[in-house]
Amino acid sequence: MKPFLKHYHFQTVILVSIILLWGFGLKENTTQEPQVHTVEIIKMKFVPQNLIVKKGDKVIWINKDFILHDVTDEKNDKWTSKPFGKNESWSKVITQDEAYFCSLHKVMKGTIKIES
């Protein structure tokens, strides 16, 4: 009986190890899913002002001011959220480095960089 038990025990350890490794592998996969980052617009500032994300991550801007703001491509005006008010939000999937500003209040600026 003893050799059989030993053999059985060995098989169990191998099986559990495989399951655990598989589990960790799955977990690793889930962390590669696109992440969601939040930028608060508060007291006329983008917080955080500079953000580092992975390609394909989504950024959500939430306006906490009672004044209208927008989020607009600063260099080429290629994209804009249009103005949005208090507690309203707007989001964008990030595929490249971005420099943006509030086109209503041109001194409010922010950046997003893709993590290398």
């Binding site: 006329m44 500032k45 009672f66 004044i67 209208l68 209503l104 209040h105 041109k106 001194v107 409010m108």
Partner: protein, 181 residues
């Protein structure tokens, strides 16, 4: 144009003195919260009035955009102030500071109306820089320290970054207009 710039500087300095002297002449802060609420509403309304003149007289899109921004943002501030005093069941009370601001504003409005077309943009934007500096100083140094009600104090503290952003925007325009000359 140098004359206008000098007038603005002198006007800004005198305005600040007119605003500060009556308060400093008193031994201790005397503005009550209802009076502070009145000053807040009046100061915002004045800038809306300046902007309305700019929309009538300026042909420069950036100046018009700035004027529209002043109307929208300062209207939003007034709405917040009115909502707060309504909630607190406080009626804004007219006072020496509000009246002093209004008196100065009347003079500025006359000058804005009189400004020649070519000079208007610079005159308006220079005044916006001076006015926002004056109001930021008054809110930080006089109104916030004297406010008793915490919510009114918080509203004033929230308005300061907006005023500073307006000042930055106005200074940006000022530089552009100066470099064009």
């Amino acid at each position: 144009m140098k004359n206008y710039a000098n007038h603005i500087k002198v006007f800004g300095f005198l305005s600040l003195l007119l605003l500060v002297i009556p308060l400093q002449a008193q031994e201790s802060p005397k503005l009550t919260d209802p009076e502070i609420a009145s000053v807040a509403v009046v100061a915002n309304q004045i800038d809306i009035d300046f902007a309305k003149i700019a929309l009538q007289k300026s042909k420069n899109k950036e100046v018009q955009d700035f004027a529209n921004r002043m109307i929208e943002d300062h209207t939003a501030v007034i709405e917040q102030a009115v909502a707060l005093v309504t909630k607190l069941k406080v009626t804004p009370i007219d006072n020496a500071v509000s009246q002093s601001l209004l008196k100065q504003a009347e003079d500025t409005k006359v000058n804005l109306e009189k400004a020649k077309k070519n000079d208007f943009d610079k005159y308006y934007v220079d005044n916006e820089v001076a006015y926002h500096k004056q109001v930021i100083g008054a809110v930080n140094d006089l109104l916030i320290p004297e406010t008793k009600n915490q919510e009114l104090k918080e509203l004033l503290e929230t308005v300061v970054p907006a005023l500073e952003t307006h000042l930055g925007h106005a200074q940006m325009l000022q530089n552009k207009l100066t470099s064009k000359k």
